[in-house]
Point group: D3
Chain length 136, copies 6
């Protein structure tokens, strides 16, 4: 019945992660590791989060991933890394990702920002991207 | 010595709030109400937050205000309203502002989002803007 | 397509709030106040939160509402009152609701607990219920 | 003077952890590791948390541990694992523990829930319990 | 049995609030408003918080109240006002109280600090104290 | 232009960490690891946090570091360790540091306090200091 919504979610994940049909959820963690204890979790992630919220109109993908990263920095969640990777995948530049984390200093303080930059730096290294020096 | 930085901050605030020299800080709360107990507070707000962080390269003003709103929603802070107003001032559409708040449901839960939408709705009414219905 | 899920959510809300078909969502706030700015919000509340999560097996309704109240106390959210009312509706005794809030002192500290008890006390007064004195 | 309260706390811990007099605090961390820097800490844990709060009437042990787990998930604290173990010890089924964590998605978001499920899954593996598949 | 501990807590509250035996808990909220729904709450506040934690050696009263205020600012709790009043009562100067709130900007961000300064300013007005201008 | 402010920040860091000109920032993390992705970060840390906030009048260094530690405990941030080290450097006794963490139990709950004490204990071991037993 809600198969359409599930497929819509999978399509959105592919779009965000540049995954293909051989590996339809790409590097996105949809909670498959919990198949044995919470078999419905991945359905909620795919249908609600990606088929629903990530598929809303109003924001483009870059704005959506920026909002995700910001929320995770403000909360200090370990999922920051995966979404920094998604950010690069949808076309956020490293400067935009760093800019978005640095922008939060006056709102969440230095410690949360330093912790998030550590994670971003690791992902940048893994993905082989670097931040362009600007005159500012 | 840091007069240039203070002026840089005031200029940024004017840019963000479309204020003019007669009312240089527009509707932005820079902590002037605390002149008697913390006379240096407004200096930190103007110089560090606006002359420094808001003047960084990397993000445009719309992205910066979106990041601010997102962080405040994630933390449940009452300053959301002022920054929704700033968002409209820098050109975020009501759809983008609502989109940015709604996007956070999977990350911060419904209660924080409902509280933030109440504030946004009030600001939209005050500012006389409305959200366009989309087919979605 | 997902009309079944929407109806499932409405049925669950009726069960939780003892509402009837004349007032199908009872006292539950499903975000209808945001019809003009986020017309899809109430759909997510009804379908995902109530048709999905609240309809999971594993916990009975009393346990589900207890978990909701606990999470809201830990986060200091204003929705505590509505869910205390839901708790009474599904058969949690006032002693259980207070017990659940008091139990959190060692985990979230006194201030959050005092704030939550204020809200619970108001709802008890509105609903005309009182807490039985126990010898303890 | 408060020896009775200390003993009451130890008794409660034994009841919760199925410990015996040879190992009176079972697997419960009462802060004994801090004997050298905060020698009064374990007294507060035993007397106040267990002799006091955990010994209140109003909730049964299963409800108390459910409330503990919920609060820790909402806050993202590493103590979740120890209290999942306590949950199993007092008779919460794995389905109830998972149900209680999954129920929080609409209130705290997916990341906190995913992190908590990882911890629960590990404890289930250590304790050799598994979650029954339900038709739902 | 624990009457001594209760009295120890009351004595500490009197010391902190400069209350006398006619009004033994002074302006301190010990949860008496919840006598009807949680009759044991005030006992926990008096015995554990004041008879126990506030009576520990290691910090003087000024340091203890400073720590309390700091924690409440970091969490955004409404109890800040009562403890600012306690701070003045134990001899913290308005400069120290403001200094302690302002110091948190790099750790918790501007919004939490602005909210806390509003509350402190109100208490200073009620208590008729003012902050001395310093050359800094 | 703001070179004076930068130097003021470095001087403050040296004062706090007992560093000398050969290693001007001592053990303080000023974000130098992010030179490649956020080259302006260390400037903000030095100029704003240390040249500005830490150089305010109103509190002495011991009070400032106590406020820092308290805020980090309340938020559960991993920077606690570095600031416990700073605390010892400016003359806070181990008893004061532990006292400040223990004092937070009624405000933030046991789990945050236990986590912070673990970090403090490690730093005490590294620095070779111990907590004096008191009769209390």
């Amino acid at each position: 019945m809600s198969e359409d919504l599930y497929q819509k979610g999978i399509d959105k994940i592919q779009e965000l992660t540049q995954a293909d049909d051989d590996n339809p959820t790409g590097f996105m963690d949809i909670g498959e590791a919990f198949e044995d204890i919470a078999p419905d979790l991945s359905k909620y992630v795919v249908e609600f989060a990606f088929g629903g919220i990530y598929s809303r109109s109003g924001l483009d993908n870059k704005q959506k991933v920026q909002a995700t990263i910001t929320a995770l920095v403000a909360q200090g969640k370990p999922q920051i890394g995966m979404h920094v990777k998604t950010g690069l995948s949808v076309g956020l530049t490293p400067e935009e990702i760093v800019g978005c984390i640095m922008h939060l200093i006056p709102y969440v303080g230095f410690p949360s920002v330093l912790n998030a930059l550590s994670v971003a730096k690791e992902v940048f290294a893994e993905e082989g991207v670097s931040v362009k020096k600007s005159a500012e």
